[in-house]
Symmetry: C2
Subunit: 947 residues, 2 copies
């Protein structure tokens, strides 16, 4: 099949699928499109079928039916489609004839895929590994179905609420030629409009050699909507073009008049439009005909059907230089008091569930490769990773993990993830059975974070399997709910400990478990492999272990860290790194901002699912003092802090750890006072941070943030708190010349550094008003188990280091939080022949290299992604080129060949030919350091006949 | 072209365009349809184009686009289309290819036209002549375009608010095999459901021999909507059928369950649905597939795509006997306090404008025939009757003349009529110029009813042309506004009179005229012809004629009638027929009902555009006495009554007239007291009417009405006034053995006889609330000229006769009101060669025969309709067979041949083969009298090569 678009890119001639433009005229590119949220006000299923149209009229099956019909009626017409989650589903229901028809439309460039991931991911709250997965899944479907004619050339993020640099970097590495979006800060847009900088070259990585992460980026003129008066969708009320000369209101001339202003792309469509595409196309046909007819009367406006790639091609032909962009587009404000920084934290429980589901999916995919075919059809039945892959892919949508969907939709995302887990559990059981030689039923405990596990609570003898998805060995503290007072875990170096379950944990279990104690021991697990531990009850019933002592500690410490507490308040008072001999003053407490209810004089904006707007800039303290209990044994030291009936925390220092763990529990947030609350944890330190702090971008590269400042324009700050909040995906830090305090989070959260030395992270939000951005519900989460308001528990891991070596700690630390071990159980005695330990790797990978992806591609092929995980210059030791020998990597796989692909695995690396763009000189971007090994960070390899 | 449907009707075999049914099963006929109002909340243009979708989402152009597309996708699918006003417009915009495609769909029975008139006419307020015209126009388009395959077999009035017997009679004579509707009284429906009488044989005329006016009539099970839960239009919210087994909510089984109940037709559609037909058909396809699949599991339900004619065919095959229906379906109530009897009067000015437009259109069409080709392209330019034909056709719609549209839509109907008048005026000028030999510019005065005519007000010499559209000579009083005090009209038998303009008239002119006097003289005009009168000013300026005397008259009389007044009150006190020597006591006055505002305890129904609901059963009197002036001369005697600033009346007796004229002027109806008002004129007489009165049906046959009674069920009366109101199109009467008092109206109005001897007619309505039937506006008419409320003027003509001869008076009287002379003017001296008189007929038609239609059909053919205008038994002299010799009818046309057609002129009479239906015996219907001549009442002839 000839594919006209690609032909021109290779031979440099005109795109024969793009309509000719007229050089001397204003060419208006009309781009018919629909924006189909993969869940928002309705679930993804409801959107596909057009169910629950009482909530919102939207039915994607009909959109695709209708658009294809209408494209066939006039070969001039064009359409772009974006969300493969929907397209894939529709495709499956089509006849062979229809599929062939659509292939023809794609080959002729009449139907063009843009973006093409499974969904249009959120950019603030997604982790790069999950984004790469979802993009890969969508693009693979297009590649498998349409070949190279179906490969999107343009990334298209018209709706996400701010834009991450890491996303741009990924898109560049996925081979996209350009990127268009709709939302950016209103001040930024205004400046760019004046300066004509609405199109730019985004240099999206400080570590990759240009143009590897350079991405041409354009801002759409009208968000993603049609210009006012030109919305002809069924859902719109604009007057149609009436060309019957019998009629009174002949408005064709009026319509044409509006076109004298600019040379632009016009997005002719919006949310779920084109369900009845005839309305759009019939009027667009007329518009084009009547406007272009006026050329014979001297008009210099030329209107044409177009697509983003045809428009991009024209921009490229212009052969201009473009301004460079080095930072990102966070935070997004659409008006002075309307900062979209609330969703960085909204629905913290869903955000955590999504994050551990990613960990679980990576494990599941690894075990699918390591187990081979038996993983999918083994002793425990049919298992698969596909279900969880799809659930994770839709969860990346910009109204999914972002927390900006309706409650019933959030429930549906969680339900889909749980269903994915169930399918993966069968696969994991099959593989572990195969690798260990034991077919004992495998038990999963998903509520260990609140000390619930029916098996360990009741069994006198069980085994614990700890699978480690990282390419290096890990040591990990295991905490199991038990009712005995003494246990023997076999083959454990440090003696196991039994400690009482905290009152905070007992309070949130709500009948789901009754363990009085926790069994605590440190385990080791090999790279890409597991260790197995047997546990036997030694002593049951009383005497129970000594209760924790209600006393004020002065300090806890291990060989790496020392933490002191203020005996008056029970709060942290200092943190020391004993290896580097550095100490900072450090206190920590919980506060809440009073969410604006819209009743103030400046503007009526309320805090809501999207928007964070505190009523005052000073948060309310929850308690100046904490009641505390302490607990100390050979594995861990804990200071349990109780602040209020709805806020508690455990400050925990494991014997082997370089990080201090703060396990916070917040909720149900009280609203009896009719005040919405946005709860933060705030660290106040002696670090001289000078108005600067740092946050990661999608869990990967780190960006500097400066208070009341934006790198590319002269900010007029109008929201002193919300306007200084940024997304924290996996870490944030403050530093001065000597000390860097890093916090690693277990999910995406929003945060800021409002005072020097201070770092605050928002944990939970409970709001009483909708913020009028469409979701139509206040963010006021309850559930069957927590009818009085959701309780959320999470962890912050603190490390203190000299800035020069801080990454050496926080990079591996964050990795362990993102890809955590999977703990599974079997009841009773292990069979003597059971293989207790296994590693899928022949050798540990170098510390700088992260094994990002191991996933079965097809029967004989595995998709492997190796990543250099250190940013340029952040580590003297690790920010260096590094080489990996693939031949000796896996222990169970024979590698017969390797082919390198682009990041999204839909193009061979050596066929990747992106458009070249010229950057303006003298831009404010920092120099670029090449620190890449041959295999390249985020590069991927595809092997053939591996097994 | 073979047309499958008609083939079977002729040969008696199965319809091959109808899907096979299953004899042993419940067959559910799914009829996809759209109901497209020819104006309602939006104008007809706005509906066609989909403009003003902010008012209501509706765009008919897209409906037809979409339905044709979807029919092509699956040959099983069916659709019916109803309103030719829209279809015609869409058809004109299609390519030849598309037109051929649609022809194929029609030939194969996949697209079926039902009803097929230009619109779906109102049944309460339309005059039969205008209904026949609009039906003829729509059916002709279908016939010309699609031939016999496009001829509708089924009449389909799913929305009109009650059903007229005369409509059923017309449909039968138009060749329809059956009739379906949706709205009838809720008590009637309930009884019919219990008695299984929802299908019946309507014997729709007392005058025509059965089965000539017999019409099989079916009541649709769910109005015209789909059953609850099965609305799959874009505008609906019902859940789609989700057949993807991956999904949670697999509801196909639930959907099928609902189908166990009945053997029915299901109307799958509603107002302006199928704009995106894919939604409907995709789900209907699935419904049919899944429900019929269940037959293999024992289900006895068979679902099929169908049309009303396929369904009708199955009913006919059942070979049952059906109950007979003899009366009509008025009034319509959808609940105990919700009688749709307000619209009988709503928008009285529009109703009058529609009625005189009909008169004007008949004249225009006659003069098009009489003038020949010069009429359309003569000295005054291009004229046509087509524009007014179309305007009149859309005005018949059940939200047009009914008065139930929004104000801006009512304005649009009036604007369209005015535009039609303008086109006809050119045609009339051309023809009159041709017939008279004078090319003097012709002047039209459309406001003679309020004494406004710039020409006569200022000219010293002018001529008056009086064209009479009736087939018999008429005598007519002409009243012209003048400023002189004496005039000489040449060749007038009775001396002309000059009388002062009444104060009531002066008050409503609002600057549109300044005449102080009216010139009054009786004119004669020949059948289908004109007379011309020259008028010269004799005396200008003062002395003005004597002012009318403000005295209380005791009586006025001419040689036919005597009227007495009560000197105390100024009201009428008696009426005598001097020829028959009969006298009745008769008083008349004006009252208003206080419109319900919904705030009472029984129900919240308000009076509105549709619904009449007085707050109390006793109307409020406007004034017990009238101030009066009298005026008397050789042409007329007038008693001018003044009741209030907003109610006045002239009681007028012309010297040559057998009718007493009551010219009422009502408005602006005051609403300063926040009370909606429904104003009536009430006659109270000594006639012993015994709870019975009579009203005409669409201006033709008369039906008996009995208080608190319905002929076909045991009425529980819940609204003593509104529940006794009926539509009066042209006349109503009360009678006893001796006296019949008949009122002929000049427009459609509602009325009732609440007390014996009493007859009340509603004149005007001004309401403050919407009645929640969709129009969404209170009926509160104002205009630029009457910003404080519309003023309406009209006439009631009273006659008193013995019942046996009353029709001899009221039939011709009503005819003169319906088809009134057209008066036109030329300024200055007439040229001596001017032909002053003309008649298109060689001979006067017999009194029983009305020349209903004379209209150019094509170049060489004229459509002629002759009507026997007397009902069976109503006149000893005239209710008799009568013969007309067509050969010697016209004076200017040579008749070369005649072919008889059905009433709507879309079928040769001798090819008219309707389905035969068996009626149950012993029904309550009166015997039928055949009183038809060979040419038949309402029969029509089509001649070839006439000119």
């Amino acid at each position: 099949v000839e594919c006209s678009y690609f032909k021109i890119l290779l031979v440099g001639k005109a795109l024969n699928s793009c309509h000719a433009t007229k050089p001397g005229m204003l060419n208006v590119h009309l781009v018919p499109h629909t924006h189909d949220d993969v869940g928002w006000l309705k679930t993804v299923d409801q959107y596909f079928y057009g169910d629950r149209n009482d909530i919102q009229h939207a039915g994607v099956q009909y959109i695709l039916d209708s658009v294809v019909d209408q494209l066939l009626k006039n070969p001039d017409r064009r359409f772009i489609y974006v969300e493969t989650a929907f397209f894939y589903r529709w495709w499956k229901q089509q006849t062979d004839d229809m599929q062939n028809t659509v292939k023809q439309l794609v080959n002729e460039g009449r139907l063009e895929f843009v973006n093409g991931g499974w969904c249009m991911s959120d950019e603030a709250t997604t982790h790069y590994s999950a984004v790469i997965d979802q993009m890969t899944m969508g693009l693979r479907f297009l590649n498998d179905t349409f070949g190279h004619c179906g490969r999107p050339r343009v990334a298209w993020h018209i709706d996400p609420f701010g834009h991450a640099r890491e996303h741009a970097s990924m898109f560049a590495q996925m081979g996209y030629d350009g990127f268009f979006f709709g939302r950016l800060d209103y001040q930024d847009r205004n400046r760019r409009m004046v300066a004509r900088e609405q199109e730019m070259l985004w240099r999206a990585s400080e570590s990759l050699t240009p143009p590897m992460a350079d991405l041409f980026t354009g801002i759409l003129p009208n968000g993603y909507n049609p210009p006012e008066g030109f919305c002809w969708d069924q859902s719109c009320d604009d007057p149609p073009i009436r060309d019957d000369p019998d009629l009174e209101d002949y408005n064709v001339d009026d319509v044409a008049l509006v076109y004298k202003t600019n040379h632009i792309i016009m997005t002719m469509g919006s949310d779920f439009q084109y369900e009845n595409a005839n309305l759009w196309y019939k009027n667009l046909d007329k518009l084009i005909r009547y406007v272009n007819q006026m050329q014979s009367n001297g008009s210099e406006v030329n209107v044409l059907y177009s697509t983003p790639s045809c428009y991009l091609q024209e921009l490229h032909r212009a052969n201009l230089t473009w301004p460079l962009k080095g930072d990102d587009f966070f935070p997004y404000a659409d008006s002075a008091h309307d900062f979209w920084t609330g969703y960085f934290t909204s629905r913290p429980a869903l955000k955590r569930y999504e994050r551990i589901s990613n960990s679980y999916l990576q494990t599941c995919k690894q075990l699918e490769v390591l187990g081979g075919p038996i993983s999918r059809k083994g002793p425990f039945g049919a298992g698969d990773s596909e279900t969880l892959k799809k659930a994770m892919a839709v969860a990346q949508h910009h109204d999914a993990v972002s927390g900006t969907e309706k409650q019933h939709v959030a429930n549906d995302y969680a339900r889909k993830l749980a269903n994915g887990w169930a399918h993966c559990q069968v696969l994991v059981s099959n593989t572990l059975s195969s690798l260990s030689g034991s077919s004992a039923p495998r038990v999963y405990c998903e509520h260990l974070n609140i000390s619930v596990c029916p098996l360990t609570e009741t069994s006198k003898k069980f085994s614990v399997n700890v699978y480690n998805p990282l390419a290096r060995p890990v040591s990990w503290p295991v905490r199991l709910p038990v009712n005995g007072t003494a246990y023997i875990p076999h083959s454990i170096p440090t003696p196991p400990q039994v400690v009482p379950v905290s009152q905070a944990t007992a309070a949130v279990r709500r009948g789901r478990g009754y363990a009085v104690n926790e069994l605590l021991f440190q385990v080791q697990a090999p790279p890409l492999g597991y260790s197995t531990y047997s546990v036997s009850l030694l002593q049951n019933g009383p005497p129970s272990p000594p209760s924790p002592l209600p006393r004020a500690p002065t300090a806890v410490q291990n060989k790496f860290l020392r933490v002191t507490f203020d005996p008056e308040t029970g709060l942290l008072s200092s943190l020391s790194n004993l290896e580097t001999q550095q100490t900072v003053k450090l206190s920590q407490n919980f506060y809440w901002y009073n969410a604006s209810d819209g009743n103030n004089s400046e503007s009526i904006q309320m805090s809501g699912a999207y928007i964070f707007r505190p009523n005052t800039s000073t948060p309310f303290i929850i308690s100046k003092t904490a009641k505390i209990e302490t607990l100390q044994n050979s594995v861990v030291q804990e200071v349990r802090q109780w602040f209020s009936p709805w806020v508690s925390q455990v400050v925990r220092l494991y014997t082997d750890s370089r990080a201090l763990e703060l396990e916070w529990t917040v909720g149900p947030v009280p609203i009896g006072d009719d005040l919405g609350k946005e709860v933060i944890s705030r660290l106040d330190s002696s670090i001289n941070s000078s108005g600067v702090f740092y946050t990661d971008s999608n869990g990967r590269e780190v960006l500097q943030r400066r208070k009341d400042y934006r790198p590319t324009w002269n900010l007029r700050q109008s929201e002193p708190i919300a306007g200084n909040y940024y997304p924290i995906n996996s870490r944030a830090y403050i530093k001065d010349d000597k000390d860097q305090l890093t916090v690693v989070t277990d999910r995406s959260q929003g945060g800021g550094s409002i005072q020097d030395g201070s770092l605050e992270i928002m944990l939970h939000r409970r709001l009483l008003y909708d913020d009028v951005r469409g979701v139509g519900e206040p963010l006021n989460e309850t559930s069957d188990i927590y009818p009085e308001g959701l309780v959320v528990r999470g962890r912050h891991l603190l490390s203190l280091s000299p800035p020069a070596t801080a990454a050496d700690t926080h990079r591996p630390l964050a990795q362990e939080v993102v890809l955590q071990p999977l703990i599974t159980f079997t009841d009773g005695e292990l069979h003597p022949s059971t293989r207790l330990e296994f590693s899928g790797l022949q050798a540990v990978l170098p510390p700088a290299v992260h094994l990002l992806t191991v996933s079965q591609w097809d029967q004989d092929t595995v998709l492997l992604r190796l990543e250099h995980q250190y940013q340029a210059s952040e580590s003297k030791e690790h920010s260096q080129p590094v080489t990996v020998n693939l031949q000796k990597l896996f222990s169970t796989l024979d590698m017969l060949g390797v082919s390198e692909m682009n990041l999204s695995a839909n193009q061979w690396k050596d066929e990747m030919t992106r458009l070249d763009w010229k950057a303006e000189s003298g831009t404010h971007h920092t120099g670029v350091t090449n620190q890449l090994c041959l295999l390249s960070p985020l590069g991927c390899v595809k092997t053939a006949d591996l097994l």
